[in-house]
């Protein structure tokens, strides 16, 4: 066991993101007190640090292989809650799961949520996550109030859209590189019930799917489309539009209406061991895509569904990332402007087909206006694909990068494991302005991640070791 000066224990661990690619080994600390996190950030025992939430980003943004990675999930205390306005203030390590456990029964829901509850408040803000309501409500940062930041100097400052706005906007989507988010305020939204009215609409090809998205987005808060990446020819881009809105008490059956905030129990499963060679391989993925489309087609229409299975279907399977086997997988999520969306989507789907690559879960969604800086979303279409790591994949993804870049699009940093620095700079034109803010609050690049080193997100040359 090794300890810091004040006796804070550290250990060496294998580090990886949710996609389990890439992996590294590095020092880890898990502060449970403010004094510990303050000491860790300024300690001379390591040259750099990075805060990690629950490690649900996919590639390498949530670990630091050369300094110390701070696991923050136990700094998760509530600080205040105003039941009139819904403003919650809490420590950055508080998980969305805990927020739901504590506040769903009181009639409050997250203003924006990604597809898993296993993220922390600070981690979600650092990635500026989006949800199925982005077209209407924007990304998470739009619903944040003040942040309390621990800077590289050890100084603690508050920032918000009004107070130190440059720091605030550089931190939202800033991948934890501007400082450590000690506390954050988030405005929860009131709900009447813990149920969602879901509408399922199949679409036989890409054009009709995009038309459905455009038609219904204006009227429904939650919308996302699942895409069959195996279908070819006239069915290319066929999929299922899944619309949702919070059910009102009057929508519920009488028996349920008496206790409208009751949560569905939900089945749980887990992937206990590494799937040998990957449970998900091209054959099973192909079979899944066709079967899923036909199943959903039969479910077309409206139904009532419990809130958590609706937003977090994959949370029902613990460690589902193990299904891809030992070599891991990458998620490839890009956004392109509406004007170039159709041609890019067709190009990407055809390229996948040529390469014989099918994606297990592929999601198409329309984004509303973006938040600027390093925040990922902007107005247009976003497509998410996932691929097991196989030989030749990265060359193929480089090819996709070029298509996305030409279309004026960009990749999501929270899912990136492999893009190159030049691509990153071209995709994020606001990077120089962001870097200027980082230079002011972190002149010696104290906050670094494997990703920030790979992409050169620093004012100085920081070499990967």
């Amino acid at each position: 066991m090794t300890k810091t000066k004040a006796g804070l224990p550290v250990e060496t661990r294998k580090l990886e993101g949710w996609g389990r690619y890439p992996t590294a080994s590095g020092l880890v600390m898990r502060p449970e007190k403010l004094s510990a996190v303050r000491e860790a950030v300024t300690s001379e025992r390591w040259t750099s640090v990075l805060a990690r939430g629950l490690g649900r980003s996919y590639g390498d943004p949530a670990f630091n292989p050369e300094g110390c990675t701070l696991f923050t999930e136990r700094l998760d205390r509530l600080i205040s809650f105003d039941p009139q306005s819904g403003w919650l203030r809490a420590e950055g390590g508080l998980s969305f799961r805990s927020i739901l456990d504590l506040f769903l029964p009181r009639g409050w829901f997250l203003p924006v949520t990604p597809g898993t509850r296993h993220v922390t408040l600070a981690g979600a803000l650092a990635c500026d996550v989006h949800g199925k309501n982005h077209h209407r409500d924007g990304s998470l940062g739009r619903h944040a109030g003040r942040l309390r930041m621990l800077l590289a100097s050890g100084e603690e400052v508050e920032c918000s859209a009004k107070e130190r706005p440059e720091l605030f906007h550089a931190t939202i989507g800033g991948m934890g590189l501007t400082g450590l988010i000690l506390e954050a305020e988030l405005r929860l939204v009131p709900i009447q019930t813990a149920m969602i009215r879901q509408q399922v609409m199949p679409a036989g090809d890409l054009d009709s799917l995009m038309a459905l998205l455009e038609e219904h987005d204006t009227r429904v808060p939650y919308s996302v489309a699942w895409l069959d990446t195996v279908a070819q020819g006239r069915s290319l881009g066929r999929g299922v539009l899944l619309l949702g809105q919070h059910a009102q008490v009057s929508d519920l059956p009488v028996a349920h209406a008496r206790n409208p905030l009751r949560r569905g129990a939900g089945l749980r499963a887990c992937v206990p061991v590494e799937a040998p060679g990957g449970l998900l391989n091209p054959t099973t993925i192909r079979a899944f895509n066709s079967t899923y489309f036909n199943l959903q087609k039969r479910k077309a229409g409206e139904s009532l569904i419990a809130l958590e299975p609706y937003f977090y279907p994959l949370d029902l399977v613990d460690d589902w990332n193990r299904m891809y086997g030992r070599s891991g997988f990458v998620q490839y999520q890009f956004v392109v402007p509406a004007s170039t969306a159709r041609s890019t989507l067709v190009g990407v789907l055809e390229a996948c087909a040529r390469k014989g690559l099918a994606s297990f879960l592929s999601v198409l969604k329309r984004f509303g206006p973006g938040a600027g800086n390093l925040s990922f979303p902007f107005e247009g279409y976003t497509l998410t694909l996932d691929f097991p790591v196989v030989p030749g994949l990265f060359e193929f993804l480089d090819e996709l990068d070029r298509m996305v870049l030409e279309a004026g699009g960009r990749l999501y940093l929270a899912k990136d494991a492999r893009m190159n620095p030049a691509t990153f700079r071209a995709m994020y034109p606001e990077f120089p302005a962001w870097l200027e803010v980082k230079r002011q609050v972190d002149p010696h690049d104290r906050f670094r991640s494997a990703q920030s080193i790979r992409l050169g997100m620093h004012s100085q040359e920081v070499l990967s070791r």
Partner: protein, 256 residues
């Protein structure tokens, strides 16, 4: 009232409230409607914990400074806790340090510190708490965190283990003495738990390391049922049963 049946409305003082197990325990007690007072050396942390518990449980939570090695301050601390709680039903003693056995071997002054933190100081606060409950004449409960390390001395941690063994015996005696007054005494013997005390020792995440939430759940259940000795997780009862049965002549040659 001899147990904390239901726990709702019970006035509980948690001593050493910023320890990993105490924090998890406090959240579960708060969510079950217990009224809490926290004692810790780090008042900034205790204050933040108290606010968190208030927002989770919906009841006010007090806190005050507790200095384990300032034995003379223990009765004052308990008085303050009782005053803030408006009475006292239960005291949970959850502080302690694992210490570094290597250092304790070379530096007996340090060994003495480990012993004081894990035996002398807990015995002192328990003794005062027992007397206070007895004076009140309303029954109640004492809970203290021992350790499986106190069941058998091992080269790797016998300074810590011997102090916990002393604490176990002290609690046994206290249990007998306080039984006529309707006061229960619960000795908790956790195995390794994934807290700051054990982080970095190579076993967190391993099969034998428990999550603090699971240990806290076991403690709440034992408090509710009025148990006397709790091994948590429960398989440690079996493991220690076997280890205790091994003759000393063999045990001394075992590398465990």
């Amino acid at each position: 009232m001899s147990t904390l049946q239901g726990l709702r409305g019970r006035r509980i003082c948690l001593v050493g409230s910023t320890s990993g197990i105490a924090r998890a325990l406090a959240r579960q007690l708060a969510s079950r409607g217990a009224i809490l007072h926290l004692g810790a050396r780090d008042l900034e942390e205790a204050g933040r914990d108290a606010r968190d518990l208030e927002l989770r449980g919906g009841l006010p939570v007090g806190f005050s400074r507790f200095e384990a090695l300032d034995l003379a301050s223990h009765p004052v601390f308990l008085e303050e806790a009782r005053r803030q709680l408006g009475g006292l039903d239960c005291v949970v003693v959850a502080f302690g340090i694992l210490g570094d056995q290597e250092r304790a071997r070379r530096d007996f002054a340090y060994a003495r510190h480990v012993m004081e933190m894990n035996y002398l100081a807990p015995a002192s606060i328990l003794s005062h708490a027992g007397a206070m409950l007895e004076d009140q004449g309303t029954g109640g409960m004492l809970v203290a965190l021992g350790s499986v390390a106190g069941d058998r001395g091992r080269p790797s941690n016998y300074t810590y283990g011997s102090a916990k063994a002393g604490l176990h015996a002290y609690l046994q005696g206290l249990r007998g003495r306080l039984a006529p007054a309707g006061i229960r005494v619960l000795t908790v013997k956790p195995g390794p738990v994934d807290t700051p005390m054990t982080f970095g020792m190579g076993f967190p995440g391993g099969r034998l390391t428990a999550r603090p939430e699971a240990v806290a759940r076991d403690i709440v259940r034992a408090m509710d049922r009025g148990n006397e000795v709790l091994y948590t997780p429960c398989h440690w009862s079996l493991i220690m049963g076997v280890l205790k049965a091994i003759p000393e002549s063999i045990f001394k040659r075992m590398k465990i």
